[in-house]
Amino acid sequence: MKLQNLKQDWFGNIKGDILSGIVVALALIPEAIAFSIIAGVDPMVGLYASFSIAVIIAFVGGRPGMISGATGAMALLMVTLVADYGLQYLFAATILTGVIQILFGVFKLASVMKFVPRSVMVGFVNALAILIFTSQLQHFEGEGWIMYGLVALTLAIIYILPKFTKAVPSTLVAIIVVTAIAIFGNIGVRTVGDLGELSQQLPVFLIPSIPFNLETLMIIFPYSLALAIVGLLESLLTANIVDDMTDTESNKNKESRGQGIANVVTGFFGGMAGCAMIGQSVINVKSGGRGRLSALVAGTFLMFLIMVLGGVVAQIPMAALAGVMIMVSISTFDWSSLRNLHKLPKTDAAVMLITVITVVATHDLSKGVLAGVLISAIFFAAKISKVKVNEIVALEGKKKVYKVHGQIFFASVNDLLDKFNFNDKVKEVEIDLSNSHLWDDSAIGALDKIEMKFEQNGIKVTYSGLNEESKHLKKRIGGLSKASGH
């Protein structure tokens, strides 16, 4: 059975996988180069990463048909590490990122990702799009109309060509046309070659030349943790999208582990940390890719092209890459969230905006996610801590029944106390908890306090309608705070 699954994963769709793999490889090249430039490293670092991650994920990933490689989200996180400490520290951080992700997979922590609310995910995606866009603006500095013209031409080809043919990826055609214009027109524009070396070599095994001590660990650990979290977030989101597009299931813990293994190996082969790519995975599935073979073909064909065409790649003008990146940012942005912003609950909209603002201000996607999750948690606590109390007078004014509706826990007990009238002229009070739940120590403490205040005025208190769990909690810790005189 297992062998049969494996066969299906690999060879269930050979023709579709090979063709889509080739399409993806062509689309991967400009992105891998551009993301390297965002991170501040040589284009080879991103190309090696996309090659190695795509190939390894083909074997150890949990979601067949998904494409992984060097990504914008990850590149943006490593900018300061590269600038302050250099490339070797990036390789070390990449390896550590992988180790953290493997641990996530082994301890089955993929489900922790469900604590990231969707408004935070939308904010994450939108912030990523904005950062990719703003990272391109530096290429326009001090450039003339030629730069703007070439970028406009790139975008025009990218968006108009698919109306006529979808046989070749329009991004690739755009790059070829603009590069040809730059070479044969002999116009002096900046090229990829000006920004870093391109070699026509296969990646080789290396051990990062860094001092192996605690100080190094303290430098790379924060980066690795952020990379690990952001990488898993984007990978699992992408896996869900591919699940939906292909109407199949995938193993999220295996995917976390696979992403980790891919990053560890990539770090040792001179690549930068990466993760699953939403855009490329959508392209792959749309082009007919379904199996593991598609990722393997994408990775190997990418490397093959670099070996053959390395010299030409160096002559791609920055204008063409900037155009491609602008397209990437436009398609990454979730435009439906703008259209529907006014329809969303105000708190959801606020969480989304806070996530975006935090990311744009700090240039750190992981901080945005953290801020978003915290704010959502606070909003949630505020929403759920609304407690309603109805008063009913019974027994001709001798008894009063308080019906409590809502969740009683640390955030809601303050409101709760104000809802009772302790100076009533009644003999007996019944607190009906059949529509509420006692959650913690504070809840029991609050009930004890209410009971005590009524008793001070000579009013007897009884409870009714406690559910099993609340009863158990109350029995275990009830009366404690009263006795100790809180």
Binding site: R118, K163, N240, K286, S337
Partner: protein
Amino acid sequence: MYKKILLATDGSKHSIRSAEHAIYLADSFDSVIELVYVVGGEKSKEDVLHSVDKYEVKREREEKLRPIQEQLENAGLQYNSHLLHGEPGPTIVKFANENAFDLVVVGSRGLNNLQTMILGSVSHKVAKRVSCPVLIVK
């Protein structure tokens, strides 16, 4: 004559109008309607991003089909619903040609020339490539 009718829908107002035409035909010819909703790649991405889990995605899509299903039920017609994945145009064409339909009913979104050039017209693609008669409801 038209025993098996494919009704393509996207849950929009336009597709409710095409449902009315499909119902009228199905009534006259005593036919079975196969309701088809296609989720494209971009739509997939959008739906997954905005939902807590796949169950919510499923529920929201079912809700989208609900008004049209109610229309069919109120008319007392026999129908089946299909949720397909892929690019809307080619997916409808493939489904129609593989299942030997007698008629395909699609709504036209009423785009202008520029929008048609940029977005591409699903109804146009379907009309061109489906082997049975196609009714485009404007």
